[in-house]
């Protein structure tokens, strides 16, 4: 005698349940009274095991630890599984899911309009190294003050696993397709084009990824992080250089980074001789642990050399690869107005005929 159940309170629209709201009792609240769970987005629809979910989790953790106010963050992306990531973190932030390869244009426009937000661009290797390569080059060159993340899996995940332009020569996807071309290395490209913060990391290694995200968010200027983020469904074979196994085995940190938020700056001291401190513009700091190779991330040529040297040996150089704090960003170069455009009044936007005449006179 098995009677029917009462109707469920929540109609499950997806095949799986919502993530329960219960959290562990010792979970901390941050400076603005939020817990890490308050920085979550909607429940992921990516494949279980996709590296991209770990990137979302790392961003959530990074933002919570930094006490970022969600409404002061803008998330922008293109198209691809990776470009879906912004849905899965900071549901209370602003967001724009644009068209394939066009995240840089939208990010540039938004950033020009409102320089006071944190910009987090999330893209994929297909989105940024194929269809959007041109846009990528120009946003780097234009020094937009933002954090640009490429979730790099060496494949077009969303369209079911074609090789992408970041796939290494000889790497093979699940369908057996082998890459016949040399890869585009997004990190060296970014350094080459003038990015002032360039790092590489691995979705599986949050210890490394989270401080890099925090440093990238705090850095003033264009910060780029190439995150190896395995596509568990189409490109996680033993013969793929972008799979979990190869990345775990071959990623080597050129430098180990700790991020010290502004408020702790005074109290946290670094171990002289073992660490190097880089103070960022907002007062926070990066502590670089020496890893035995005396890597100097402020030297551009040295950075390129190390990345290539590692690649030759089948290794993936990770960590903070390059940083330059003296580069001016777009707003400084163009001497733009101090305030977000939406805060300007009629008087400032339409200063009248006298102001127009004054401008015209400067061209006479």
């Amino acid at each position: 005698m098995q009677a029917e159940k009462y109707p469920r309170k929540t109609a499950a629209t997806m095949s799986y349940i919502n993530k329960p709201k219960f959290k562990h009792p010792q979970m901390q609240t941050n400076d603005i009274g939020l817990t890490r769970r308050d920085y979550e987005g909607t429940l992921t629809t990516l494949c279980g095991g996709c590296g991209h979910d770990s990137i979302s989790a790392a961003i959530i953790q990074a933002a919570a630890e930094m006490s970022l106010e969600p409404h002061r963050v803008a998330k922008i992306s293109g198209i691809g599984c990776s470009s879906k990531i912004p849905s899965y973190f900071l549901s209370k932030a602003h967001g724009f899911n644009s068209v394939h390869g066009r995240m840089p244009s939208v990010a540039t426009g938004a950033n020009i309009a409102n320089k006071e937000l944190y910009y987090v661009g999330v893209s994929g290797d297909g989105d940024s190294a194929s269809i959007g390569l041109g846009q990528f080059c120009h946003i780097v060159r234009r020094r937009i003050n933002m954090l640009y993340i490429v979730a790099n899996n060496g494949t077009y995940g969303l369209t079911k696993g074609q090789l992408s332009a970041t796939a290494d020569l000889g790497s093979r996807t699940k369908s057996g397709e082998e890459s016949q071309f040399d890869n585009i290395d997004m990190a060296t490209l970014a350094i080459e084009l003038g990015a002032s913060f360039v790092a590489r990391s691995f979705s599986g290694d949050k210890k490394q990824l989270i401080p890099l995200l925090q440093a990238g968010l705090s850095h003033k200027g264009f910060a780029f992080i190439d995150v190896i983020s395995p596509c568990v469904t189409f490109n996680n074979t033993d013969f793929s250089t972008h799979g979990y196994k190869n990345t775990w085995e071959n990623h080597i940190a050129l430098s180990e980074v700790d991020f010290v938020p502004m408020r702790e700056e005074i109290t946290t001291s670094y171990a002289a001789g073992k660490e190097k401190e880089i103070t960022l513009h907002d007062g926070s700091a990066i502590h670089l642990h020496k890893t035995g190779n005396d890597y100097d991330p402020t030297d551009k040529e040295n950075a390129m050399h190390h990345i290539n040297a590692h690649k030759k040996q089948g290794k993936i150089a990770t960590g903070l690869l390059y940083i330059n704090q003296s580069t001016a960003d777009l707003h400084e170069l163009q001497d733009t107005v101090d305030r977000p455009l939406n805060s300007l009044g009629d008087q400032e936007l339409c200063p009248g005929s006298k102001a127009l005449n004054d401008i015209n006179n400067t061209f006479r």
């Binding site: 005698m1 709201k21 279980g48 590296g51 989790a57």
Partner: protein
């Protein structure tokens, strides 16, 4: 740390907090799921096999399961486990066909049970189906022990009590009720194969203060007085009643007084309100019936006028913690409190007592006159004599008496089968995957975020005027269903296969309570603090895997897991799977496993 051995029957059992905490290890989440499916009879039978008195316990159990319930850690209030048991009992259909039968042909062994409380009745239940001939001695005219004589009918209706007692008695017990045993020697002389003593803790304590002798007629021990009310030897009490003591007996005394003529009924306790031993819900029920509880009042004397008790004097005190961290009650120096009273009920404790057990029979007692027992077999120093329930370890509760009864029955069966009674039978366990599809499980993992539902009560005007009207109405089916949805299914275990793990972090990222950490192996205390959600409860073991590809281990804090199955849903390789763990203690029928 060493990798966890999940084949150890205790490992996953501990994760089912309620079942682990239940002295009889009732498979709680299993029956809660059955209630959700309206399979009340099945839910009832699961209970009946474990705790023998589901309808009684649903109303009266001390509920050690509830403070243990996981829901209390991750939300606020435990699942109303106990009251759901009542639902199973109240909504079930006729179960007589499902009960075991005592075989016509007996096995030739004769067992005497002394005292017809829950401990003895459990032994009877377990041994009757195996062909034993059971003789049950009881000094009262009816069976049930303290369940009948102490627990008032407004908490436990007579029909519920009789129904569940009869399930056992109807199997064919040789009842010798109304027969008080006055000599163990005589019983042993009757040549039983084993004797089980389940005589409870029948000795109430007096408060011998000045004035006691003169006021004697109006001073009662709580337990004797309650028994007299139960057997209708007493049907009224004075207008002003003082109940001394802060335990459950005091709560039953004051509530009973209110129903048989007490107008001004107060409970008076020596120390603080917070230190009262009574269950919070019993205190709440008494307070709902407008019974004041006066704390920090130390009784000094009975005041008698014209040979009759008229009041009691109390010294007012306050609490202080001394240098050794011990609580001290320091007089405040205020005027003593004089509280008028016509009757005083002393509910300050009870003891087991065995004046009828001769001390030259080989049954040893310790310095406190408590029988010397093996704590797992319940055998005394006399091979054939066993003790259980309150008689064994002092006053406790029904569910503990039941648990003792089961264990003693196992011992008696092993003894009669001439086996080593210290070799305890293994529990019956089963671990099976609940996976039905990628996102489908054979249990409902979509738990509700609702707070605990309160059990509705009958109208106070009605209950206070009739001692036999049950106060709690119980959950209706909809409320019961809503409450079942709060259960986290802690018996559906996360099982980890290290060989399959690719360390993608999918489980770590999805887990709502941060149970899972991949980290370097370390010593347990360090590992416990280094987890994403530190594991503070040392009673709950960590789930630790062998070394993974990266040389790290998976370490899981079982204490906070919601059993939501999301880790298993997100895992791309099935390294995580959800397995239902059924655990039942071995009963006498499973005792001879070889």
């Amino acid at each position: 740390m060493k990798p966890t051995d999940i084949a150890d029957p205790d490992y996953f059992h501990k994760v089912v907090d309620c079942q682990w905490a239940c002295p009889a290890h009732t498979p709680v989440p299993e029956y809660i799921r059955l209630i959700a499916e309206k399979r009340y009879t099945d839910a009832y039978m699961i209970n009946w096999h474990s705790n023998v008195f589901p309808g009684i316990l649903g109303r009266t159990c001390d509920r050690p399961c509830e403070p243990a319930c996981r829901r209390g850690r991750v939300e606020e209030e435990p699942v109303a486990i106990c009251r759901l048991k009542t639902v199973a009992a109240d909504y079930k259909s006729d179960i007589t066909d499902l009960l075991p039968q005592a075989p016509k042909k007996k096995n030739g062994k004769r067992i005497a049970l002394i005292g017809a409380g829950p401990a003895s009745l459990t032994v009877a239940r377990d041994l009757l189906p195996l062909g034993y001939e059971i003789t049950l001695f009881e000094k009262d005219a009816l069976s049930g022990g303290a369940m009948r004589t102490q627990i008032p009918r407004f908490r436990l209706p007579a029909e519920v009590l009789d129904e569940e007692l009869n399930y056992i008695l109807d199997m064919g017990v040789n009842c010798r009720f109304g027969e008080e045993i006055t000599s163990m020697r005589d019983i042993l002389a009757e040549g039983y194969d084993a004797v089980f003593v389940g005589t409870g803790a029948p000795l109430g304590k007096w408060l011998d203060l000045p004035g006691h002798e003169e006021a004697k007629d109006n001073i009662h021990t709580g337990i004797e007085w309650l028994a007299s009310v139960a057997f209708e030897h007493i049907s009224s009490v004075g207008k002003n009643v003082l109940v001394l003591g802060g335990g459950n007996t005091a709560m039953d005394c004051c509530r009973t007084s209110k129903r048989i003529g007490g107008k001004e009924v107060s409970v008076v306790v020596r120390s603080g309100f917070e230190e009262m031993k009574a269950s919070p819900w019993e205190i709440e029920d008494a307070m709902n019936e407008d019974i004041p509880i006066l704390n920090f009042h130390v009784p000094k004397r009975y005041i008698v006028e014209n040979g009759k008790l008229v009041a009691m004097e109390f010294e007012k005190v306050r609490k202080e913690i001394d240098a050794n961290g011990r609580r001290q009650l320091i007089p405040t120096g205020e005027e003593p409190a004089i509280l008028p009273c016509d009757d005083v009920l002393c509910a300050i404790g009870q003891e087991n007592s065995f004046p009828w057990v001769e001390r030259d029979l080989g049954i040893e007692f310790d310095q406190w006159e408590v029988p010397v027992l093996n704590k797992s077999t319940f055998q005394s120093t006399h091979e054939k004599v066993f003790f259980g329930g309150d008689a064994a370890l002092g006053p406790d509760n029904i569910i503990t008496a039941v648990a003792h009864g089961h264990d003693a029955a196992v011992s008696i069966h092993l003894l009669c089968e001439k086996q080593d009674i210290t070799k305890r039978p293994n529990p019956l366990t089963n671990l099976s995957s609940q996976k039905m599809g990628i996102h489908q499980w054979s249990y409902d993992n979509d738990i509700s975020a609702d707070f605990r539902f309160a059990v509705p009560h009958a109208d106070k005007q009605v209950t206070l005027n009739d001692i036999n009207v049950e106060v709690e109405l119980g959950f209706d089916e909809q409320l019961a269903f809503n409450e079942t949805m709060r259960c986290l299914n802690c018996d559906v275990q996360t099982v980890f296969t290290d060989k399959l793990c690719i360390e993608c972090d999918a489980c770590v990222d999805i887990c709502p309570t941060d149970c899972i950490t991949f980290t370097q192996n370390q010593k347990e205390p360090k590992l416990r603090t280094n987890l994403l959600a530190p594991a503070e409860n040392d009673e709950q073991d960590l789930y630790v895997s062998d070394l993974l590809l990266t040389g790290r281990i998976m370490a899981k804090n079982e204490d906070l897991c919601l059993h939501c199955g999301l880790c298993a849903e997100r895992c791309p390789t099935n390294a995580w799977d959800m397995h239902k763990y059924l655990f039942n203690t071995a009963k006498a029928e499973n005792a001879c496993q070889s």
